[in-house]
């Protein structure tokens, strides 16, 4: 994790779309009177989604105003949580897990594929604006390591070549199939079941 600062180039303003504003007002009502500041994370998250994946300075001011705190309090939150991106991201953001289990299972090759096919530097948008990648800490799916998170989906059991295939699909506008890239069922053993292979052991009357 590196220093988290707001990007140097910032837009001048931010406003929620009418739908998101209505949603945000509803979120604010979830909290008791005087505790609206608690809505900071959902509001920031929705604003980041609306903005194409990153948090901007005007956004911080707008949200601070909505929840009735000073902007520094929202900036503290936005810089604390790595789920908030402070710099522009590509249309698709590849979050590559490099924590120990993924690393042991070959996340270096995944990172190398990202460097080669997206951009040599993490958190930098590719030349065509479609992709960017970053290293993240444990995504909590170690049994299927290595993992890439793209948007709301996990891509499991990737390696260099499969990562490249995913990148190529995304670049071509196709959506790769989420889940295990080697076709295993959730986190069942590779190559099919290793135990309970005899159906008679668990079928009725067997």
């Amino acid at each position: 994790m590196s220093l988290r600062r707001l990007a140097p180039d910032q837009p001048t303003s931010f406003a929620f779309t009418p739908e998101n504003l209505a949603w945000a007002q509803k979120q604010l009502k979830k909290y008791p009177e005087g505790r609206q500041a608690s809505a900071v994370v959902p509001l920031l998250w929705r604003a980041q989604e609306q903005n194409g994946g990153h948090v901007t300075e005007p956004m911080i001011r707008v949200i601070a105003e909505m929840i009735g705190v000073s902007p520094i309090r929202v900036l503290e939150i936005a810089t604390f949580y790595t789920m908030f991106n402070l710099k522009p991201v590509g249309q698709h953001l590849l979050q590559v897990c490099t924590t120990t289990p993924c690393w042991l299972r070959g996340s270096d090759a995944v990172v190398a594929a990202c460097k080669k096919h997206i951009h040599p530097h993490a958190e930098t948008v590719s030349a065509d604006g479609k992709l960017s990648w970053m290293e993240v800490e444990c995504l909590g799916a170690c049994v299927n390591a290595p993992i890439i998170q793209i948007g709301d989906d996990f891509y499991e059991d990737v390696d260099g070549a499969r990562a490249e295939a995913i990148i190529n699909d995304l670049r071509a506008g196709r959506k790769p199939k989420p889940g295990s890239q080697i076709g295993r069922q959730t986190s069942a053993p590779e190559g099919g079941p290793q135990t309970l292979t005899d159906a008679s052991l668990y079928t009725k009357g067997g």
């Binding site: 994790m1 309090r73 503290e76």
Partner: protein
């Protein structure tokens, strides 16, 4: 009360104490960085770890309540150790983590010699050197404005500054961004902290991360002479320590005075010291052929004497300024009375108060007393700029006691919630008679109070406003029993340090005499030929007309520019003097350095002049002068104590001010620029910078 055993010693402490407080009560010393008595508890530095029997790990004593300690199996009191090997090891470990990333730049650090980290590393750290081989973390410095210098690599993330800004100063502008090793203390987008009390973070910072920008690389604490004194930048009389080296004041620091400033001071108080060196009057001047020419004391006195002899007393007048101590005021009064002059006034702003009982112009609730109040009416006052420390107390009461605050005056962010009534002074009469909704709020409160600003009284209808305020106080039950535990909710908030002392000594128009406004009008008409200005700069000097003006003071400001004779006096750091603060607390300012050049102590100038004028004053030293003052105002004998809620006699509250109609003209605040209220502040570059940064944008925004 709860029993505890601290280091084998049994003590009995209130259950709401923290372990740290309990250990201190038992006489144990607990090191700390993040904990501060006047701030909320953060518990993040871990330096205050102690061993609590039964707990598997050492506990942070600052964040552990006494009532959370479990008794032993047979109901023995909880046992706490602060000196055990476990505690020693824990402290050493914490200290190691703090030092891993702390630069070893003590030799070039301004905090050196008064650094908590330095001291505690000596006392509680590992006695081992050259053990850090890894690179230290480096953090970019942040801009926090013209007052606070930042060297953020030194920051240990105690968050005292963050809590101070949010809690005490009431400006939520400092925060901690990032996390873990990348945590950084900063202001939003590195804006300067827009507080009048921001300098206090310098004292709070336990390391050299936040230091004083104007004082940067100027001196070392051990080479400074420390003089305990009081501040005169506002009428609060904050306790300060003047640190001087040789002939120069190097800095001001606060002293603890729970009853006045706790341990804070305003930025004007703290950073005005460069104004003490600039624009100084260091020799007498006499105007010859329209130009001020340097002169000797004898020539200056002779010029005055010639003029005084040629002028009838009723065509003479004397005005006292805002920073003058009581002694020269007394000397000037005696001299003028001896000459038969009745046109005396100390109220440069023309405030209509001072006649009648002392309670009529004091802050009777006392500053500490604000903490007990539950309803407050602000009348034409902006305490944030007129007395930042009073404002901090009001904020404290608002945070803790749910103090309800109402205001009649222009809108201004006071750092707490205020209910704005119409800015119509005429409503005061309705409040007094119960016809206004504010009456009920005050009446139903247990400890109601009002604060009457100096600006509200410096109007043609000032006396009627004073009268209306006194009626409000009387009718809403603000006047309670006197003495300790009593209550008096009637308060006047002065802006000038000299004012209460001068009023106490009766530096007011004598029988048949004119007040400030009448003196200036008469001078403009040509009816006054001789005006003696004792440090009086806040008047419209254009109105002095053709009068012969003597200016005695320390700085070349408005008064000196207009003067025909200049007598160079001393500032509050260059002479001993008595000041009376808004509460009526008599305090001593002490000399830290000597006045420059030929400048002299103010009362000695008047004593010498009196000899030349043939009206020799009957005192040759400060002691006799002070004895003479006691005759005018016996309460000067009792220093450092505020009168405890005087004024039980309800009768006196009808004699304050004068009945009359109050105009509907809205109130205006007397302080237009917090940083430039007096000659010393106007001579200071630091104050000028603050003014252009914080006040100018506000004024231009208001003009649009």
């Amino acid at each position: 009360m709860t029993k505890l055993i601290v280091d084998g010693k049994e003590i009995d402490v209130p259950a709401d104490y923290t372990l740290l407080q309990a250990c201190e009560a038992a006489g144990a010393e607990i090191p700390r960085f993040c904990y501060h008595e006047r701030l909320s508890i953060a518990g993040n530095c871990r330096m205050c770890l102690v061993e609590l029997k039964g707990s598997p790990k050492p506990v942070a004593s600052c964040a552990w309540g006494v009532r959370d300690c479990r008794p032993g199996p047979n109901n023995e009191p909880p046992v706490v150790n602060t000196k055990s090997p476990l505690v020693k090891k824990a402290r050493e470990g914490v200290m190691e983590f703090l030092l891993i990333n702390h630069p070893l730049d003590c030799p070039i650090c301004d905090q050196g010699g008064e650094c908590d980290l330095q001291d505690q590393a000596m006392a509680y750290g590992h006695a081992k050197f050259n053990r850090y081989e890894e690179n230290k973390r480096a953090v970019t410095d942040k801009n926090m404005g013209p007052l606070v210098n930042t060297i953020m690599t030194r920051c240990i993330h105690c968050t005292r500054c963050v809590r101070f800004a949010a809690e005490v100063a009431g400006v939520d502008e400092i925060g901690a961004t990032g996390r873990g090793e990348d945590m950084e203390i900063t202001t939003y987008l590195e804006h300067a902290v827009s507080s009048e009390m921001s300098g206090n973070v310098i004292d709070l910072c336990p390391v050299g991360a936040l230091t004083s920008k104007p004082y940067k690389f100027n001196a070392r604490p051990w080479e400074l002479t420390k003089t305990e004194s009081v501040d005169v930048m506002d009428a609060v009389g904050s306790a300060i320590r003047v640190d001087s080296r040789g002939a120069e004041v190097m800095r001001f620091l606060p002293r603890v005075n729970e009853e006045v400033n706790e341990e804070w001071i305003s930025d004007k108080t703290r950073f005005v010291w460069d104004g003490l060196r600039r624009q100084r009057l260091d020799k007498p001047y006499v105007r010859k052929n329209g130009k001020l020419q340097p002169a000797s004391w004898a020539e200056a006195f002779a010029a005055i004497a010639d003029r005084v002899r040629a002028t009838r007393p009723e065509r003479m007048a004397a005005l006292v300024g805002d920073l003058v101590s009581a002694e020269p005021i007394k000397a000037l009064k005696d001299l003028m009375l001896a000459l038969g002059v009745a046109n005396l006034d100390c109220r440069q702003d023309g405030a209509k108060l001072g006649h009648g009982p002392r309670q009529g112009y004091l802050f009777n609730t006392t500053i500490a007393g604000i903490e007990h109040a539950d309803a407050l009416l602000l009348i034409g006052t902006n305490p944030r700029w007129e007395a930042p420390l009073v404002n901090a107390r009001i904020r404290k009461a608002w945070l803790r006691n749910d103090l309800k605050i109402m205001r009649i005056g222009p809108r201004f962010d006071l750092t707490y919630q205020v209910q704005d009534l119409d800015n119509n002074p005429a409503d005061l009469a309705d409040i007094a008679t119960g016809k206004h909704r504010a009456f009920e709020v005050l009446k139903n409160a247990k400890h109601p109070m009002l604060i009457l600003g100096a600006g509200a009284l410096a109007r043609p209808d000032g006396a009627a406003i004073l009268d209306a305020a006194a009626q409000i106080a009387r009718n809403t039950g603000m006047i309670g029993p006197s003495g300790e535990g009593g209550w008096n909710g009637f308060n006047v908030l002065h802006t000038a340090a000299a004012r209460v002392g001068a009023l106490d000594l009766g530096f007011l128009p004598q029988k048949g005499g004119k007040d400030t406004i009448a003196i200036l009008d008469a001078a403009a008409r040509g009816d006054i030929d001789f005006v003696y200005l004792l440090g009086a700069d806040e008047i419209d000097t254009k109105k002095l007309g053709q009068a012969f003006v003597v200016y005695q003071g320390s700085h070349g400001d408005a008064g000196a520019h207009r003067a025909d004779v200049i007598l160079p006096g001393s500032t509050y750091t260059e002479q001993n003097g008595t000041y009376v603060n808004i509460e009526g607390r008599v305090q001593q300012a002490r000399r830290a350095t000597f006045p420059p050049g030929d400048a002299r102590e103010d009362w000695t100038i008047l004593r010498a002049l009196s000899d030349v004028l043939g009206k020799k004053l009957p005192y040759d030293d400060m002691g006799t002068l002070r004895l003479a003052m006691l005759k005018d105002a016996p309460h000067f004998a009792e220093t450092d104590r505020a009168p405890a809620h005087p004024g039980v006699d309800v009768g006196i509250w009808t004699s304050i001010g004068a009945a009359g109609t109050i105009a509907k003209t809205p109130f205006e605040y007397p302080v237009k620029d917090f940083y430039l209220t007096n000659p010393i502040a106007r001579a200071s570059h630091v104050m000028a910078e603050c003014s252009s940064l914080f006040v100018k944008p506000r004024l231009s925004a208001a003009a649009e």
